[in-house]
């Protein structure tokens, strides 16, 4: 099957100016500013199949929002090729955006002083939707998101969660094939998050492709089947969630309670994360070094196990390791005009590939 999204060697750089923080720096900047070339996205490549739900992650300033803006036709790239549903977003913007939806958590499409329903009708006219199609979709979305009593109130009187649900309706009224989500659950409470996640899952089941950018790893763990991690403008990981969890090695979190003292040494590959009491501890076990049954045997030889719980390492740990690895590299996003650009391994972002060679497996 042909991918619905194909991105090849995508690059975006732009110029900005460096300025100090003092009053003198501000005054100096009126006459002379130091130019900085920002390389926001560096030759990234990936593809997405129809119906996939992809988590597009990265620390702040990694280049994920810039990539998303290029993919939605908002920005022109400096170089590279993008084909989405047969369109080049920035060249065929009008017919292309009629096929996609976008929710930017920090940029509202609603109108602050009037009810969301009025904004929905405005979108109906902009997208040229038929009344029957519009009504059908609106009723379905309103019911799914449980906002029937909300859409007639002025937007400014709505809670953040209610507004975000209405943003989703705004983005989906024209039944897009692909939806780009940029931090859609930012600032939401647990219940609102859950409702929105359910909604995304439901739409994904119906065949809608989602690209999800978020800092909320709960969204990723619950929704995404595949994760692309970008840092300093380069893809450093592209694989499924399980591979991301394996990224730190085959590690498990174990909470061990013994009738006596927990031994000080529990063998190779076992690290004590926290000693809760003399007979209770939180451990991290690398099962590639010490398999679980060997660990249990060792504990039994040293005493009596009263209780034991075994969990996967939280996804946060893998993400943190990926981000921090890249942060140790020289900051290569900015490029002073008078400096030579330093670039780390550019082989990142292999289609359907695994982690970046320098960050894969145990090297992290």
């Amino acid at each position: 099957m042909n991918p619905i999204i194909e991105v090849s060697q995508l690059r975006k750089s732009y110029q900005t100016y460096e300025r100090g923080h003092t009053l003198l720096d501000s005054i100096k900047s009126l006459f002379h500013r130091k130019p900085l070339e920002i390389q926001a996205v560096k030759d990234i490549s990936f593809s997405v199949q129809q119906g996939e739900l992809i988590g597009f992650l990265g620390p702040n300033g990694a280049g994920k929002s810039t990539t998303l803006k290029i993919l939605t036709g908002v920005l022109y790239p400096t170089d590279g090729h993008v084909s989405i549903a047969g369109y080049v977003p920035w060249k065929q913007r009008k017919p292309y955006v009629a096929r996609i939806g976008a929710v930017f958590g920090q940029k509202s499409q609603l109108l602050w002083d009037i009810p969301p329903l009025d904004a929905f009708y405005m979108n109906k006219a902009i997208y040229g939707l038929k009344e029957s199609d519009f009504r059908g979709t609106l009723d379905e979305l309103v019911e799914l998101l449980d906002v029937v009593h909300v859409i007639r109130k002025p937007t400014r009187q709505l809670s953040l969660g209610e507004r975000m649900k209405c943003e989703f309706i705004m983005a989906m009224l024209h039944r897009p094939d692909i939806v780009f989500l940029d931090e859609p659950t930012i600032g939401l409470d647990v219940i609102a998050k859950e409702k929105i996640r359910e909604f995304i899952k439901e739409m994904n089941r119906k065949g809608v492709t989602f690209i999800l950018t978020t800092h909320d790893l709960g969204d990723v763990a619950e929704l995404a089947k595949r994760v692309i991690v970008i840092n300093h403008g380069e893809i450093i990981f592209d694989d499924d969630i399980a591979a991301l969890k394996r990224h730190l090695g085959d590690k498990k979190l174990v909470k061990l309670t013994m009738t006596g003292d927990v031994p000080a040494y529990l063998g190779e590959g076992v690290a004590v994360l926290e000693r809760l009491s003399s007979h209770e501890a939180k451990l991290e076990i690398d099962t590639a070094i010490q398999p679980l049954n060997a660990f249990i045997q060792m504990c039994s030889q040293n005493g009596v196990i009263a209780d034991m719980s075994i969990e996967e390492l939280p996804i946060e740990e893998s993400i943190k390791a990926l981000y921090s690895y890249n942060s140790e590299q020289p900051n290569n996003n900015t490029n002073r005009k008078d400096q030579k650009h330093v670039k780390i391994d550019a082989s990142a972002g292999r289609k359907g590939g695994n982690a970046h060679s320098q960050t894969s497996g145990r090297s992290v």
Binding site: Y14, G61, K64, S65, T66, L68, K69, T72, G73, V74, L75, Y76, R93, K94, P95, V97, A98, I100, A102, F104, Q106, K107, S108, Q109, L111, W112, D113, I114, D118, A119, Y121, M122, K124, A125, I126, Y127, G128, P154, D182, T213
Partner: protein, 260 residues
Amino acid sequence: MTGSVQAFLAVMKTVVASRLAYRGDVFFSLFVTLLGEAILPMITLLIYKSGASFPGWSLEEAMLVQAVFMLAKGIAYPFFYGMVYNTLDRVREGSFDVLLLKPRSALFMTLVTGFSIDGLGRLVGGAALFIFALSGLPMPSAAEWLGFLLLMCLSACVLFASALFMSGMLFRWVGSSRVYEMNDAATSFGRYPLSIYSKPLQFVLSSVVPVAMISYFPAATLLGRSTPGLYGAAAASVIFLAAGLLFWHYMLRTYTSAGG
């Protein structure tokens, strides 16, 4: 085409509804605009009452030029100039992205979401002054009315082009809130009869930056006065609009959005 008109009306309706959420501010704004625009005709009246005048122009004729200027700005402010503030705010905040996500031309979305009812005060004031000035003059012929209407279309083209230049600049020079003042200073030459300026300046105002097309040529045509340089000014107006459109679309490509 029908779809575009429907979209235009639908967006305009929501923009007006949104603005009318603050009725007090709207009325106050309309009143202040009207008051501000009445100052220049009052000064003109005082000049003529004191015995001075624009050479070759009666009070009613000079008032008519200023009334046509107000009418033209009364069309430009609600329909065109709102896009300038719209661009200023949206580019600075990065919310211009939202307009680019709609399946309509970026210019259409910028223009229509920038519609401003506050500017209608100028239109009302212009219409009142126009009727007042015309009441003291012989009734123009049908041909003069037709010529006037055609030239008002070109006047709208010049003002639309100036809005395009202002809005386009804001994609590159983000947050330059003084573009209106620059534009007002440049277009204020159009408030007076062209004949009061020196010959070289007359040429610039009619054939280079056709500010004279905003009010002088339409008013002079309505008055049945001779209008040397009219064809050059008409051509310059069309070229000015084309240049404005090209400039705006070129500058749109430089839009960098704001940090995500």
